[in-house]
Symmetry: C2
Subunit: 409 residues, 2 copies
C-alpha cells in the first residue's frame, strides 16, 4: 500500500456554507504526523454520482483514502451503499451488530428508531471498525490496487475515536520510514526574525524537515526527523534552537501558553490576579480554559471604565488625568492595585486601544501597555499592532501572558 492519502468529506451542510470542515483539517494533521502526505482533499455532496466521481478520480499514487460521511443515519447510508457497490459488494443485515446497537441505545435510555436497522446493514466486502462513541460503525474496503478506503461517520467525536482506535494502529504499522514530529512554539518574535536566526544554521541539519506555521499567538516550528535518527539529531537540534531562539520558545509540544503559566505558578506556589481593559476579559477567558486553574488564579477584573479602574484597583485620578488610561503609569497602578486588593503573589494588567475608534496621533489604535508583577520583579512593555479590534484583543492577550511567563522563568 502506498503511503499517500486523499481525504473525502461528504457533507451538504459544508457545501451549504453552514459548517466549517474541521474533520478534514484534523485528519490532515494526524496523517502528516504519521508521515503520510495528503495529496488532495475533496468536499462533495451526498449524491451517488458525486461519490462515484471522486472515487474514480483518485490518484494512482494514493494508497489511503479516508471518507467521512454526513451526520444523519440516512445520509450515511447513501455513502455506505455507493462505496460498497463501487467495490463490488452488497449490504447485508447483521443481527449481531443490530443487537449491539440496541444495547448501546438502551444504556443511554434512548428510544430505538427504525433507522437504526439501516445502521446494522453491513457490506459483505469490508472490515468493520467498531465505533465506541456511537452507533454507525466504521468500514475498511480494500480495492484491486491495494488501496485502503476507510469510511467513518461525520460526527467529529465518532470519527476521531474510530481513527484513534482502529485506523491509526493500522497506519502506524505501514512499511516505510517512521518519523517523529517535534513542535517548538514561539511567541513575541516575527517569522522573518526566526528565519534570520536559524535558517543558515539549519544547513547543519539536512536530515530535518522544517515547517514554519504563523498564527495570531506566535510562530510554531515543526521539525520532522526520521525515527532512527531521533537519538542522534534531536538533542543537538534542541540545543541549536534554544541557543538561537532562547526564551521566545515557550513550549515544546502542542500546549497553550496559559498551561505553561499555570504550571510555573503551581510549582512556585504563587497565585495570580489579572486586571484587563482593552483585552476585554479574554486573558481571564483563556486562563480559565485550563482545568484546575482556580487553584492559582483567584480573580480577573475587566475594569473597562476609568471609574472602575479607580474604584476597583485604586488607580489614582491624577494618573488617569495626567497620563491617560493607556499609559505605563496606569498599567503599573492597575497591576499593583489588583495584587494588593486581591492578595495574590503575582499580577498582570493591560490597557490599550482595541479600536476601531479611540485612537489619537500619539496613541493610535493598537497601542497597548502591559505590566506584570511577581514578588521579585516588575516589568512593563508597550506594543503596537493593528489588525482590527478582534485580532488586537488576541494579540494583546498573548503579549501580556508572554510578559508574565518570562518573569516566571
Amino acid at each position: 500500500m502506498k503511503s499517500i492519502a486523499e481525504i473525502i468529506t461528504i457533507g451538504d451542510e459544508i457545501l451549504a456554507g453552514a459548517t466549517l470542515d474541521t474533520n478534514a483539517h484534523w485528519l490532515t494533521g494526524e496523517l502528516v504526523t504519521l508521515n503520510i502526505p495528503v495529496l488532495r482533499r475533496h468536499t462533495i455532496s451526498d449524491r451517488t454520482e458525486e461519490i462515484l466521481h471522486v472515487l474514480r478520480s483518485l490518484s494512482d499514487d494514493t494508497g489511503i483514502v479516508i471518507l467521512t460521511g454526513g451526520l444523519g443515519p440516512t445520509r450515511d447510508d447513501i455513502t455506505k451503499k455507493t462505496v460498497t457497490e463501487y467495490f463490488g459488494g452488497k449490504l447485508i443485515f447483521s443481527e449481531s451488530l443490530f443487537q449491539e446497537i440496541q444495547e448501546k441505545l438502551k444504556h443511554r435510555n434512548r428510544t430505538i428508531p427504525e433507522s437504526n436497522r439501516e445502521q446494522a446493514m453491513i457490506p459483505d466486502n469490508a472490515r468493520i471498525l467498531p465505533n465506541p462513541m456511537g452507533t454507525a460503525a466504521g468500514l475498511c474496503f480494500k480495492d484491486k490496487k491495494g488501496r485502503h478506503v476507510y469510511l467513518v461517520p461525520g460526527v467529529p467525536e465518532e470519527m476521531k475515536s474510530i481513527f484513534n482506535e482502529s485506523i491509526r494502529p493500522e497506519l502506524t504499522k505501514l512499511p516505510g520510514e517512521k518519523i517523529r514530529v517535534f513542535i517548538y512554539k514561539t511567541t513575541g518574535i516575527m517569522e522573518s526574525e526566526i528565519v534570520d536566526r536559524i535558517d543558515e544554521g539549519l544547513n547543519d541539519f539536512p536530515m530535518v524537515k522544517v515547517g514554519y506555521y504563523p498564527s495570531v499567538y506566535g510562530v510554531n516550528l515543526k521539525m520532522t526527523v526520521k525515527e532512527n535518527e531521533v537519538g542522534t539529531v534531536e538533542p543537538r537540534l534542541r540545543d541549536f534552537l534554544y541557543n538561537r531562539l532562547g526564551d521566545t520558545i515557550y513550549t515544546e509540544g502542542d500546549r497553550d501558553i496559559t498551561e505553561i503559566i499555570a504550571e510555573k505558578l503551581t510549582t512556585r506556589g504563587w497565585t495570580l490576579s489579572v486586571a484587563e481593559s482593552c483585552t476585554g476579559g479574554l486573558i481571564s477567558h483563556r486562563l480559565t480554559d485550563i482545568p484546575g486553574i482556580s487553584k492559582v488564579f483567584t480573580e480577573g477584573l475587566l475594569t473597562y471604565s476609568n471609574e472602575a479602574k479607580i474604584r476597583r484597583l485604586g488607580v489614582s485620578v491624577n494618573t488617569l488625568k495626567k497620563h491617560g488610561a493607556v499609559s505605563e503609569e496606569t498599567v503599573i497602578e492597575m497591576a499593583r492595585g489588583i495584587r494588593q486588593k486581591s492578595g495574590t503573589d503575582t499580577a498582570l494588567s493591560v490597557s490599550g486601544i482595541a479600536g476601531p475608534a479611540g485612537g489619537t496621533r500619539e496613541k493610535p489604535v493598537g497601542t497597548v501597555w502591559i505590566c506584570a508583577l511577581t514578588p521579585e520583579k516588575e516589568k512593563t512593555i508597550r506594543i503596537q499592532f493593528n489588525k482590527g479590534r478582534h485580532m488586537n484583543k488576541h494579540f494583546a492577550s498573548q503579549a501580556a501572558l508572554n510578559l508574565l511567563r518570562k518573569l516566571l522563568l
Copy 2:
C-alpha cells in the same frame, strides 16, 4: 454561463495540517447566498500536475470556478502560469501594473523585492481584477465552455476584497432566478423542539427552502425565498415564525446576541456590569468584541474564588456556607452586589461548575445558576449541560446573555 460553482484551494500549508481552510468556507457561504450552489471543493498542493488535474476534472455542470492561491508571491506564480497556459495564453510583463505595485509599496514604506516583478507578469488571456488590499491582482479567465475561472490570492483579506469588489458584482448580474436568504437566529431551544413547532406549518410555504443550522449558541434558521416572491411570502413567513417561536428568536440576519443587548441597552440609556465565575471572563470577552460597547458596559468581574465573591461583590459568607457558590442565593447576591458597587442600571451574574472536576451528586458538572437584573426586573435560572469544560463555558455564556436579553424585551 451555468450557475454552479467549484472552489479550488491551493495551499501546501493546508495540506500540511497547519492551516484551517477558512477561505473555501467563506466563499461557499457567499456563493450560496448568491443562489450559486457549490458542487465540489478541492484542496490541492501548488504543483503544476495537481492544478492541471483538477482543472481537467471540473464537472460539465460547473460554470464558475474560484481558485484561491498560496500565500507567497512565488507560490502564486506557479498557479498563475499553469492556469494561463492551460487556457492557451502566456504571461507578459505589464509596465503599468509594475508601476502601480511600486506605488503601493512606497506608500507603505516597504522595500520592493525582486519577486514583485513577477507579480507584474499578467496573462494575455485574462481580465485583471484589481486588488485594493495587496499587490497580487485577481484574474478572470473564460474557457471554451463559457466557464468563468477566477484566480484570487490566498491571503483572506485580499481574497475577500477582490471577491466583494469585482467578482460579486459580476455574479449578481448572472441570468437566472434571484433569491433572498432570511436568517432567524434562535437560542435556548433545541432543534427538535423547533421542528415540532414549525415543521407542519411550513407546509403552507412550499416556496420556501428551510435550513436548520445548530451551533453552540443556538439554532440558526435559513429561509430561502425567490426574489420575486419575497413581497408576498416573507411577511407571512415572518409572522408564522414569530408566532411559533416567539422570543426564542433573538435576531434576524447574521448578528451576535451581544450586539442585540448592546442595542437594547443603548436605546434605554442603561449601563451593564457583569459578575462571572464558571464562564471565566467569556461573557465580558464576547461583549467587548462589539465596537463601542464601552458606552454601556462598565466592568466585568471574574470573581473566581469565594474570597473574591465576598470582597468584590459583597456576597455574604453565610450564603456561601449555607448554599454554596453555585446556588440561586449566591448568583442573586453577586448580581445585586456588582450592580450596587458599580452603579450600573443592569447586571448579570453566573456561577457554575465548568468541570471536569468539582461536580457532586446534587450539583453535577455543568450545573449553572444565572441571575439578571434590570431596574424593573430580577430573574434567575438554573441550567444543566455537560459537553466538556470548553463547551460548558460557551453554553453558559449564551444562556446568561439570553436571560438578560429577555429581560430587556
